[in-house]
């Protein structure tokens, strides 16, 4: 289980980075395109809320990698 948690730690860190990239790039694309109409409202809220959570998820992955959960 310890080895699985270490491997998953890397997975969670990568997952956080990729999700953050997806959110920010989609936000930039939709806001600059101006569609959907509420993109300028929706995406800043999503970024403001989910980036700190993703940071927490990466930290969770880091703790897992460092075997803090064993």
């Amino acid at each position: 289980m310890s080895a699985i948690r270490k491997v998953l730690g890397v997975v969670w860190i990568l997952f956080s980075i990729l999700t953050a990239y997806y959110i920010v790039s989609t936000a930039i694309r939709e806001i600059s395109a101006g569609t959907p109409a509420d993109a300028a409202i929706f995406w800043p809220i999503i970024i403001l809320i989910f980036l700190p959570i993703l940071l927490g998820f990466a930290l969770f992955g880091y703790y897992s990698l460092k075997e803090e959960y064993n």
Partner: protein, 503 residues
């Protein structure tokens, strides 16, 4: 446990549950009446206020909940559980009552939406502080081998709060008639809250502080800075992260999908008549609510972990088939219209607002071979179109009960993830920082991951619309729910211990 202590624990559960139920009631009536409120408090043609409107309904009540968890969690770990969740109850009741008194946009202009926003923020903050206090209070009065069972009564309140709000709105609406209700009757459910809150405050004032916390305070062992201790120390922080990503996150999306996304799906995507939607949800909730207590009780016997994770896994595996069946039940393309039963009715009467004018209600009913009826209701004032055209599908008797069953199955998933979670969170953290530590992951899981489910799911649905498929994939919204629940399941399965009955 002595008979006297058992009587005591039921008084504790009742006082905590009634208050929490009222807070949920207050929180839900706003959501249920959002359409009417947006007309009363917001000009429809001003983009700035439309922005406020969107912010209000989309985010405010949910996003501030984690902040409420921090503010009141800290207070609860320093001052005590009893007084803190008394404050949250007063704030929630007061802000709800005041929403019922705010004059409309027509009367006070921009002050109306700003006041509503302020009240909604207070509601969210109060709810953020209430749940952790109630769960901690009950758990700290419970013997360790019955903690799951006793705290599960608190868990029923969120569902019962929704149930009571739907019933109050349904009764007020039916008694007053649609026009009066839209005019001023929508204020009644808000004002009614003050009576319920008054009763609850009276009950809670007579309660004593949690014995475990009182002992800690007497010994001078309470935390002087619960926030720093909860999130500044690695040992606690890593448990907060585990509670969020291994339990609360998945629980939040399963809960909001089963109760709220399901409701929004049958109303907007399936276009079921709004009164029938209320009945479907009310029946499914009534049938499902006892299972909160059942799974809470079961978690005392076999542990919390696998009950919660099974609920998540069932959601991951069965949401798509369940929602496909729900969609098919109301899909008119799969039904044959009985043209001989096509019917138009026209009723004319004096307009309630101005009896000198005549208002006509035209109802067009199309009946299908399985007894499904599609009703289109429009109104004309002195011969000119008046108000919106309302179109809704009324399912046949068998269709209605099949829909109830499909929602009920989702409520069972909800009871599996939600029934044991209060005991699970309470047992994860030490008494001195429990209120703060458990409230934050709970409210991020429920307020953010869960609360934003309808908005994010709708966005996934909109994104599924392409040139080749302009109507989009009606099940696309489930992608978000399934991903979050699946990740949470893996984390919970690999990292969580199946601990229970911890002292």
């Amino acid at each position: 446990m002595t008979k006297e202590k058992q009587t005591g624990i039921w008084t504790v559960i009742t006082s905590s549950s009634v208050g929490t139920l009222i807070e949920w009631y207050d929180f839900y009536i706003f959501g249920s009446l959002a359409t009417i409120l947006s007309v009363k408090f917001f000009p429809q043609d001003n983009p700035t206020i439309a922005f406020l409107n969107t912010l209000l309904t989309f985010a405010a009540g949910f996003i501030v909940r984690p902040f409420g968890a921090l503010v009141f969690g800290r207070l609860g770990d320093i001052v005590g559980r009893k007084y803190t969740f008394l404050v949250t109850l007063i704030l929630m009741g007061g802000s709800t009552f005041l929403i019922g008194l705010i004059p409309s946009y027509e009367t006070i202009g921009y002050a109306a939406p700003l006041l509503v926003l302020l009240m909604r923020l207070i509601q969210g903050l109060a709810l953020g502080g209430e749940y952790g206090g109630a769960a901690t209070y009950v758990a700290e009065h419970s013997p360790s081998n019955k903690r799951g069972f006793y705290t599960s009564w608190i868990q029923t309140t969120a569902t019962l709060g929704l149930f009571v709000s739907l019933v109050v709105i349904l009764v007020t609406r039916t008694t007053m008639g649609e026009e009066l209700f839209r005019d001023w009757g929508w204020r009644v459910p808000f004002l009614l809250s003050s009576i319920l809150v008054g009763v609850s405050i009276f009950i809670r004032l007579r309660m004593h502080e949690s014995p475990i916390f009182a002992k800690l305070k007497k010994e001078g062992k309470t935390s002087s800075n619960p926030l720093k201790e909860s999130f500044g120390k690695k040992e606690n922080l890593k448990m907060v992260l585990l509670a969020l990503f291994g339990a609360a996150m998945g629980q939040g999306v399963i809960w909001y999908t089963g109760q709220f996304y399901a409701m929004s799906f049958i109303q907007k995507t399936c276009n079921i008549d709004h009164v029938q939607v209320n009945y479907i949800i009310v029946f499914a909730l009534l049938m499902g609510t006892p299972f909160f207590v059942f799974f809470g009780w079961l978690s005392d016997k076999i542990g919390r972990k696998w009950i919660m994770l099974t609920g998540m896994l069932l959601g991951v595996l069965f949401y798509r088939p369940i929602y496909t069946a729900m969609f098919n039940l109301a899909d008119l393309e799969k039904k044959t219209e009985v043209t001989g039963l096509y019917n138009i009715e026209r009723e004319t009467s004096a307009w309630e607002t101005d009896p000198a004018k005549q208002i006509a209600t035209i109802t067009i009913a199309r009946t299908y071979s399985d007894s499904t009826v599609v009703k289109e209701v429009r109104r004309e004032l002195d011969g000119k179109p008046f108000g919106d055209t309302v179109k809704g599908t009324i399912l046949s008797n068998s269709g209605f009960w099949m829909m109830v069953l499909l929602i009920f199955i989702q409520v069972i998933f909800v009871t599996m993830v939600y029934g044991p979670i209060a005991a699970f969170l309470v047992e994860l953290f030490p008494t001195r920082i429990r209120y703060t530590s458990m409230s934050l992951p709970y409210h991020i899981g429920n307020g953010i991951f869960g609360g934003l489910t309808p908005a994010i799911a709708t966005r996934f649905f909109e994104d599924s619309k392409t040139v080749a498929n302009p109507s989009g994939d009606p099940l696309a919204g489930l992608t978000y729910v399934i991903i979050v629940a699946a990740v949470c399941f893996v984390i919970g399965a690999v990292y969580l211990k199946n601990s229970y009955n911890n002292e």
